[in-house]
């Protein structure tokens, strides 16, 4: 079964074959490397750009305006902060032209911590991107969702962010969550679509026949149903929330865990239905905690569900410090981990006025 990088690669291939993707580009995206995380190996429209994020985003916009669906990669989202103006502009073309133009592009970029990436390979991008109007935003936590959300980005007529939690790049699908059409045996799939080590000049991938299987924007997924409280997360922290919820069963705590998957639009009806039932909600993400997207979700929660809450809604997020330090001891306390998530769920479940 595929891991997330392979799922992305397969979606990009389907994008090229069936949805008119003409360009997949960015730093080291084309041969010989095929991406810092190998997500773009073997793709026929992949090419290497200059080391210039502004050029990458700008060229992506230009291609989009010319009707060329494209996927532009920022190698790490940490390096996209010199192009926020261009990203805002991409999100504005339809609106500023009063509906005359649209800009069908996908900005793909790895986000978050988990690989000891130190200050500049650990940034989150959800607070920044959710504050940019005009973009749809996907952030998957499983290979199948990565596949389906990336295809949704590609076919959408609007600019989309496809944010990839880098710590989950190598995590494999769970049984029952495979991408339709992918070979069941990991080694078979690897042989088919992973570039060999060494010389790759004559290598060609063998793509499995995978159908479109789009995961629509704005549809969250309830990963675990529960009665006592609602945990809403996405990306790297999502599987940790599930793990914590499962461990807490033996303490008699039954948490519902929702994978938001799409950050804009987001599935408010699923969140509110759940919070109405449980009366308690914890939002978990790893961006730094001042002016954080989870705070928006809390605002909406108190705006609409205040009188149905049994306890204050909670946010567990990254520390408001300038970066994530390299040492293990630093990274661990800078962003939510299994223990802090478990504690937060437990204390919210038990909190009394």
């Amino acid at each position: 079964m595929s891991n997330m990088v392979q799922a992305i690669r397969m979606a990009l291939h389907v994008g090229e074959e069936r949805h008119g993707v003409t360009d997949i580009f960015g730093e080291d995206v084309g041969p010989p490397l095929g991406g810092a995380f190998t997500a773009t190996q073997g793709l026929k429209t992949a090419w290497n750009s200059p080391l210039d994020e502004r050029g990458i985003v700008g060229t992506s916009i230009g291609l989009g305006l010319a009707g060329c669906r494209n996927v532009a990669e920022i190698q790490f989202c940490d390096y996209g902060f010199n192009s926020i103006d261009l990203l805002k502009l991409a999100g504005m073309h339809h609106w500023m032209s009063n509906g005359e133009w649209n800009c069908p592009i996908t900005i793909m970029t790895p986000v978050g911590s988990g690989i000891r990436g130190s200050i500049y390979h650990s940034h989150s991008f959800d607070a920044t991107t959710t504050h940019i109007p005009g973009f749809k935003i996907a952030l998957p936590s499983t290979p199948r969702d990565a596949y389906g959300l990336l295809l949704s980005c590609i076919v959408d007529p609007n600019p989309c962010f496809f944010l990839v939690p880098k710590s989950l790049m190598r995590v494999r699908s769970l049984p029952g969550e495979e991408i339709p059409g992918e070979p069941g045996d990991d080694r078979v799939l690897a042989k088919m679509i992973d570039a060999p080590l060494g010389d790759r000049t004559s290598w060609k991938p063998q793509w499995p026949e995978t159908p479109d299987h789009l995961v629509p924007f704005g549809e969250a997924r309830t990963v675990r149903s529960g009665r006592d409280l609602t945990v809403v997360s996405y990306g790297r922290t999502l599987p940790l929330c599930v793990k914590a919820a499962e461990a807490l069963v033996e303490e008699g705590i039954d948490a519902e865990v929702i994978d938001l998957r799409s950050l804009h639009p987001y599935d408010w009806s699923r969140i509110s239905e759940s919070v109405r039932r449980t009366g308690r909600v914890l939002y978990v993400n790893e961006d730094s905690e001042i002016t954080n997207f989870g705070e928006h979700l809390i605002r909406r929660t108190v705006e609409e569900l205040f009188y149905e809450l049994a306890a204050p809604p909670r946010l567990l997020a990254g520390a408001h410090v300038p970066g994530i330090g390299l040492a293990d001891s630093l990274e661990m306390v800078s962003v939510p981990q299994l223990p802090s998530i478990t504690d937060a769920i437990r204390s919210l479940a038990r909190s009394e006025p």
Partner: protein, 341 residues
């Protein structure tokens, strides 16, 4: 004034035809009258802000006439500066639409009353929305140029900007991306050099003698021309475009122009008298050569003035956008740029 690396295929040495000259003249005057009308609108409170291109007509009109206008990558993509009403008029735009944008009316076809005047957007002619942020168009241009090149044909990408704006990294981005050996791009980069960025003079800020020299290191054909002369502009633009259309490679063209009403209404929009007026110069020559009489030219101007005054009156009567429209067009529900939209 040429600073070309090696001679570009020479423009025709012959004179432009009398018809073309009078067309150039007529459009230049029309564009000037439009800008003067827009300034009047500002003064009369029919618009919050004016910015435009009086002083650039001698360059911008030929540019508009030479553009292959149409929709999609077979045609030219236009990434314009905010001083190009003359280019748009030469392409065939109706001046009343600029006045609608000036008045931020619901009828403004470029932005529905959302954007400043001069911020054109015409999908049918590949005119992408003009951006207020300076120079970002230079980072976007390589994208449409890739599409032009891939489409085959003679369509090119044209990107324009001011002199001061070349200090932004985006200008460098365009030089780098359009000259990549892996994929040289058919981009005509234009810098309209009026020697000012708002109140800041060129002199203290630019170590380059000519901005066009910046193309040379990249092997980009580059030239500086007198943009105050419509004949020179027409010929040099023809030649530069022909090069880009056929060689499918970039060209950097710097045009020296005037700024006749200051930066914008923010600086008063008053007529300056210390800069060359391209229309006055051209009219002198047309008269000397016996192509047009002073009277003909006066009549032409009077006619445009009357037409645009009437248009101004009409625009005053048109509705403002509805408040709730701010939520419209945040997202597109279909693909306009690819489908038949």
């Amino acid at each position: 004034m040429s600073t070309s690396l090696r001679p570009v295929r020479s423009p025709p040495a012959s004179e432009l035809s009398p018809d073309l000259l009078s067309k150039l003249h007529s459009l230049m005057v029309k564009a000037r009258v439009l800008e003067e009308r827009l300034i009047q609108m500002y003064r009369q409170g029919d618009g919050f802000f004016w910015i435009g291109g009086p002083g650039e007509e001698a360059f911008n009109v030929p540019l508009g006439l030479l553009i292959h206008k149409g929709r999609g990558p077979q045609y030219d993509y236009c990434h314009f500066h905010y001083r190009q009403s003359a280019t748009l008029l030469a392409m065939g735009a109706d001046p009343i639409d600029a006045m609608r944008q000036m008045k931020n009316s619901a009828t403004d076809p470029y932005s529905g009353g959302r954007n400043f005047v001069g911020h054109y957007s015409i999908r049918q002619w590949n005119v992408v929305p003009v951006s207020s942020p300076i120079e970002v168009q230079y980072s976007i241009a390589p994208g449409t140029a890739i599409a032009n090149k891939r489409a085959g044909g003679r369509g090119i990408t044209i990107v324009t900007g001011g002199d001061a704006g070349t200090a932004e990294g985006d200008f460098s981005t365009c030089l780098v991306w359009s000259s990549r050996p892996a994929n040289q791009l058919p981009v005509l980069m234009i810098v309209t050099n009026n020697k000012w960025g708002i109140s800041t003079h060129f002199q203290g800020q630019h170590g380059e003698k000519r901005i066009s020299d910046r193309g040379k290191a990249f092997g980009i054909e580059s030239k500086t021309i007198d943009g105050n002369d419509p004949e020179v502009s027409y010929r040099e633009l023809s030649a530069a475009m022909e090069y880009v259309r056929t060689e499918r490679k970039p060209f950097l063209l710097e045009a020296m122009v005037s700024r006749l009403y200051g930066h914008s209404s923010a600086s008063g929009a008053n007529r300056t008298n210390d800069e060359a007026d391209c229309i006055a110069g051209f009219e002198r020559r047309l008269e000397e050569r016996g192509l047009l009489t002073r009277q003909q030219m006066d009549e032409l101007r009077a006619q445009f003035t009357a037409e645009l005054l009437a248009a101004h009156k009409q625009v005053k009567e048109e509705p403002q956008p509805e408040s709730k429209s701010i939520y419209e067009h945040v997202f597109a529900d279909r693909d306009l740029v690819r489908g038949d939209g």
